[in-house]
């Protein structure tokens, strides 16, 4: 009995052991990777005779038929090479003539016309122009075939608002710039896709982007969904419960409905890709809400030049759950970049009708330019292609804006540009002080006085050139070819500076090449009493302008001021010298959206200086007006105030003056 029991126990134990072993061993063996066998991915076989296979084309094999005659354009479709005659653009420049419209025109229309006329592309004669622009009539009226139609060759049909009128004439070889074209009819590289603008879109200037801060506020909902009725519906981060396909209509718990006009306040804006939602697209852009487009059937605006992957997400609506998960898991770095890009694009290309039209023309100009068009970087990073002229340069490093992105800094010298007006006193002391700077490359004297310039100039360490001016205030901002450096030190004959001040200011400018760095400041303010802008030269705790009678800035601003600003503004500057100062400050602020920089300026100059400041609002009424006229021309007030001054690191610190690099700035 006992032995039996023992034996059976033994048997049972060994049986279970064996069982365990047999179960475990195969697992162990599986865990050890061996060479591929059934079960592991097979992959494409390695053929034994792979080296012996024939090439897909025999080298040197030339089909006889390769000597076919070249073919012309095929079918009814057009592309840039075949349907636009570039040779009509004399000197490779775009000149636009607007086809006159019969009958009364609407205000919106008039506005568009005005903005084209103010652009640098406008031409008064159809013979001079290489692009004839036809404005699509507003609702109700249908335009007849314009004169000089010529099959639509070199024509651009511009239609900002969706046309209710079927095309009365065959578009043929004309380019079409219209809002939200469908991808099926859009001819890439030939047509231009425009944004769908709301009826009340401002003509000029336009509302700034709504983004107050770089990163999303912690309390802001993750998603907003564009609704068919035109509003936005938002939901919190736990939105995964809602499939966003209308089925959650009943569950209105954490959601709020926005009335039509308000902008969405969320991190991402989901926009179904059907036609009318194009309006939502611009709203999202303005609000800094990253547009998530679900299979849009329309071409994104200005897609030829704008890299939308930096500002929006175009996803497939069929993979909605995956898209939502991806949005929730998107790294903060990407969210931050997308948000900021929406704002930049809105401000650069979409915020006003004028910007939309100028962008359209700029795209066509770029096609004509070919190799010397804007590089993609200029289109897709601040300040945008409308403010970075390719006629100045196509190399980003020649501009003041892109040094940072390329990890470089502007090179080491500056040109002093001294403007000498009446009474025509050569600024000998100033020349010596400036020439004494180790960073000075050349001195240019812009002689703008009735008196002839003296024949003899003091000997300086750097070359001195005298340029003849036209006796206009805007002379000093012409892109003189004699200027050989990126940095300009703009001076007046009666300016007074020490070498130390010049040296320090230039070193500061190198850190901020896109801004103006100046010594004397003005500040602007809103004058409630007069209902307009005013400015003052009184010393205050903040400032928004620096005087160009002593300021460093990049020479690109000369080109920009001369070639991109409307004629009217430059005439304004010619009328009053102070206006020229304001104009330059307006321009730089409009481009950078940042205040200028002030550096220390010795008190001894202030005492020696003749009174050139506008004493008070009443002393110079015309100049006060010019700030308001400019604000009107710019469409908004671009000036930004600053409350700081950049001083040398040891400025007035209680330490031996011998340790300080800019000693002369220490003088009381």
């Amino acid at each position: 009995m006992q032995s039996w029991r023992r034996k059976s126990l033994w048997l049972a134990l060994s049986a279970s052991w064996l069982l365990v072993l047999l179960r475990v061993f195969p697992l162990l063996r599986l865990a050890v990777p061996t060479r591929p066998w059934a079960g592991a991915p097979q992959g494409w076989p390695r053929w034994l005779d792979a080296e012996l296979l024939p090439h897909f084309s025999q080298p040197g094999e030339l089909p006889k038929d390769d000597l076919q005659p070249p073919r012309g354009p095929r079918g009814g479709s057009c592309d840039w090479g075949s349907c636009f005659d570039v040779s009509k653009c004399r000197g490779g420049r775009l000149k636009v003539f607007v086809q006159p419209v019969a009958g009364p025109i609407s205000d919106a229309h008039r506005g568009i016309l005005a903005s084209i006329e103010s652009s640098r592309y406008h031409s008064v004669s159809p013979d001079e122009a290489c692009l004839l622009l036809g404005l699509e009539a507003p609702a109700g009226e249908c335009s007849p075939v314009p004169p000089q139609w010529n099959g639509g060759r070199n024509h651009l049909v511009l239609s900002l608002h969706p046309a209710f009128c079927p095309q009365t004439f065959q578009l043929g070889q004309a380019m079409v710039a219209k809002a939200g074209p469908t991808v099926d009819t859009f001819r890439p590289g030939f047509d231009v896709a425009l944004p769908l603008l709301p009826e009340a879109h401002p003509l000029r200037g336009g509302a700034p982007g709504q983004l107050g801060q770089h990163s999303p506020h912690p309390g802001v909902p993750l998603l907003a969904l564009a609704e068919e009725r035109g509003g936005w519906r938002t939901a919190g981060a736990d939105s995964s419960a809602c499939p966003w396909d209308g089925r959650c209509e009943q569950d209105r718990g954490p959601e709020q409905t926005h009335p039509g006009a308000t902008l969405p306040n969320a991190t991402f804006c989901l926009i179904p890709g059907h036609g009318p939602d194009a309006l939502h697209f611009l709203q999202a852009l303005q609000a800094g809400c990253i547009p998530v487009l679900l299979s849009p059937r329309w071409e994104l605006p200005f897609s030829e030049v704008i890299d939308w992957t930096k500002a929006a997400i175009v996803a497939d609506e069929r993979l909605l759950f995956q898209v939502l998960t991806a949005l929730q898991e998107m790294p903060p770095t990407r969210v931050l970049a997308l948000r900021q890009q929406t704002q930049f694009l809105w401000d650069a290309y979409f915020s006003s009708v004028e910007k939309v039209i100028h962008t359209t023309l700029e795209i066509i100009q770029d096609r004509i330019f070919g190799a010397s068009a804007h590089p993609s970087l200029l289109w897709n990073s601040p300040p945008g292609a409308l403010l970075a002229l390719p006629t100045f340069s196509t190399s980003p490093l020649d501009f003041p804006f892109y040094h940072l992105q390329r990890g470089s800094r502007p090179t080491g010298r500056f040109s002093a540009l001294i403007w000498v007006g009446d009474p025509g006193q050569p600024p000998l002391n100033l020349i010596q002080a400036v020439a004494g700077s180790q960073h000075c490359a050349q001195i240019l004297v812009l002689w703008s006085s009735e008196k002839p310039p003296p024949l003899r100039w003091p000997k300086t360490a750097v070359p001195l050139t005298v340029l003849a001016g036209q006796r206009k205030a805007s002379d000093r901002f012409l892109p003189h070819t004699a200027i050989s450096t990126d940095a300009i030190l703009s001076l007046d004959a009666h300016s007074s500076l020490t070498t130390s001040e010049v040296d320090f200011a230039f070193v500061v400018w190198q850190s901020f090449p896109e801004r103006m760095v100046g010594f004397l400041t003005w500040s602007h303010f809103w004058d409630e009493a007069r209902g307009g802008w005013g400015y003052t030269a009184e010393r205050a705790n903040e400032f928004s302008m620096v005087l160009t009678s002593a300021a460093f800035y990049h020479r690109y601003y000369h080109t920009l001021l001369t070639h991109s600003l409307p004629e009217a503004l430059r005439t304004l500057a010619d009328e009053a010298p102070t206006c020229a100062d304001i104009l330059m400050n307006f321009l730089v602020a409009a481009v950078t959206k940042l205040p200028p920089i002030k550096v220390p300026y010795g008190r001894q100059h202030l005492e020696a200086r003749p009174p050139l400041t506008p004493g008070g609002p009443e002393s110079q009424p015309p100049a006060q007006d010019c700030i308001n006229q400019m604000a009107a021309e710019f469409g908004s007030m671009p000036l930004v105030s600053s409350r700081l001054r950049l001083d040398p690191v040891l400025f007035k610190d209680p330490v031996s003056v011998l340790r300080k690099k800019y000693r002369s700035l220490e003088k009381p």
Partner: protein, 718 residues
Amino acid sequence: MCASVKYNIRGPALIPRMKTKHRIYYVTLFSIVLLGLIATGMFQFWPHSIESSSDWNVEKRSVRDVPVVRLPADSPIPERGDLSCRMHTCFDVYRCGFNPKNKIKVYIYSLKKYVDDSGVPVSNTISREYNELLTAISDSDYYTDDINRACLFVPSIDVLNQNTLRIKETAQALAQLSRWDRGTNHLLFNMLPGGPPDYNTALDVPRDRALLAGGGFSTWTYRQGYDVSIPVYSPLSAEVDLPEKGPGPRRYFLLSSQMAVHPEYREDLEALQAKHGESVLVLDKCTNLSEGVLSVHKRCREHQVFDYPQVLQEAIFCVVLRGARLGQAVLSDVLRAGCVPVVIADSYILPFSEVLDWKRASVVVPEEKMSDVYGILQSIPQRQIEEMQRQARWFWEAYFQSIKAIALATLQIISDRIYPYAALSYEEWNDPPTVKWSSVSNPLFLPLIPPQSQGFTAIVLTYDRVESLFRVITEVSKVPSLSKLLVVWNNQNKNPPEDSLWPKIRVPLKVVRTAENKLSNRFFPYDEIETEAVLAIDDDIIMLTSDELQFGYEVWREFPDRLVGYPGRLHLWDHEMNKWKYESEWTNEVSMVLTGAAFYHKYFNYLYTYKMPGDIKNWVDAHMNCEDIAMNFLVANVTGKAVIKVTPRKKFKCPECTAIDGLSLDQTHMVERSECINKFASVFGTMPLKVVEHRADPVLYKDDFPEKLKSFPNIGSL
């Protein structure tokens, strides 16, 4: 099995009551079970080696042995390509489902040999290039062998060259693929489309909805956003070794090396040569080559013989002219030679034009402007030409060099369309590695001055200096723009004081207790931080006035992407020791600010905690030092900008302190800090810190102006 084991274990208890014959019965049963188990075990151990070795043999097969498929003459033919196809109409994304890696899965059909009814092969089974292409896909992350999980299907039917196949029969072969389904989600690779006489610009094989990766699309056949335009592979890429030649003077300004050029174009080229003399070189095929010299490797100008493709490296611009086909293999050779291609082929869709910016690497000239080409090219500035030459070579290296590069770029493009939120950026596609390395993309690039109303959150890191901490809290709470105060209690052995003991202040005060005494706790992106601006302040910085702090915040608003701090420091290159040195003396320059008192954007907390390069974060925690230097490195590296030091030098801790601002200045401390700089510079691979000579003061600081009218009068007093 488990049940039987349990039964066996419980067995002995039952056995005594059983009869002997039962016992025998049980024993036999056990032994049978045992034997059986042993046998299965044996079986499991041995035969696999045999199996896998036979498998091995199967893999090493010859292309000639692949199964033959006979296509009946009346088997279905797919419809012609649908020109209106777009991803959202013709592509079935449901097959691509969710994929954590955001990469499409690609299945390759196994190789078959297709013959028609009479046994005549439909095409060459497979070309060397197509085999390479499929191998590349199979070796990549995209590959799957599970047809049910695949999102994209690649037939093994080789259609690279239309001239080597029979169109109708190839189409029939495609139609009988197991998952064909009108060609949905099928990808065909074709480099030489069309055939005589009219040379269509897309593959003539009817293919219904299949995507086409084609090497010669025109605007009329290319379905934007659906097809992929690919290069025509140049076999010379693998045959000839052509080392990179940097931009520099080259002998010819413009060169044409193509052999089959239409006489009309050749006339134009000859005219150019006649007009501009030496600087233009027009080559043709050689007629008088001796036997045995490969004509593909030679080009001739009258009797002068040139080596091809080497001669391309002698020219700045190289003509890429259309032949009967738009896509020309010469484009690949030209790019490789660092010669800027001058593409004269109207309506040609350049390779990978969906993602590559060809304006940076080529000049496109309309055919009718061919006679003006010289003038057009001359107007391009030298700097831009050099840029284009480098770009051309980079495009070749990245996307033209091999069949593998072409295949992977094609799949990447399709994958990016399906997972757009994970797509490669313009810069990733287009910037050469040197540019990628040197360029900086500031995460806070938008010029924006945040509204003052937002205020800032002060974060005080403390261990146990409660008295000093309370003084700091009281001082900081006087700053108008403070919106919240966060105390990071870094002492695990001691509880923070009771609520009632804390100073009463006008803003919310929150104490965060940490799990471990680590310096990096001060830079953790706490959920409690609601403002963008963060003031990091030590628990012993009691000398900063409310004016100074408020002014610091104002300065931060004007420079929200920078570190804005009070005590400034400098790094210097020690020429004797050949390494970096930390400097805290009175210097005219500054490159760091201490985070014992500094404003910065809260995004940098995220970067410090999750994106700090290398092991810096742990290293800092282990050494209990240099977290501020690490933060300075991080911010300077990511923004490319210098710090802003605010207000004059002063004592920060106490009026009677000997050290001018805080941290002990003894020698060991300086050595440690210098070590930190050297360590971080080596981890970052560069010295990101920027040196500046300025600091920020209020506009009217030390000006002769009534103090009471100044916004920030109380600044800089010791």
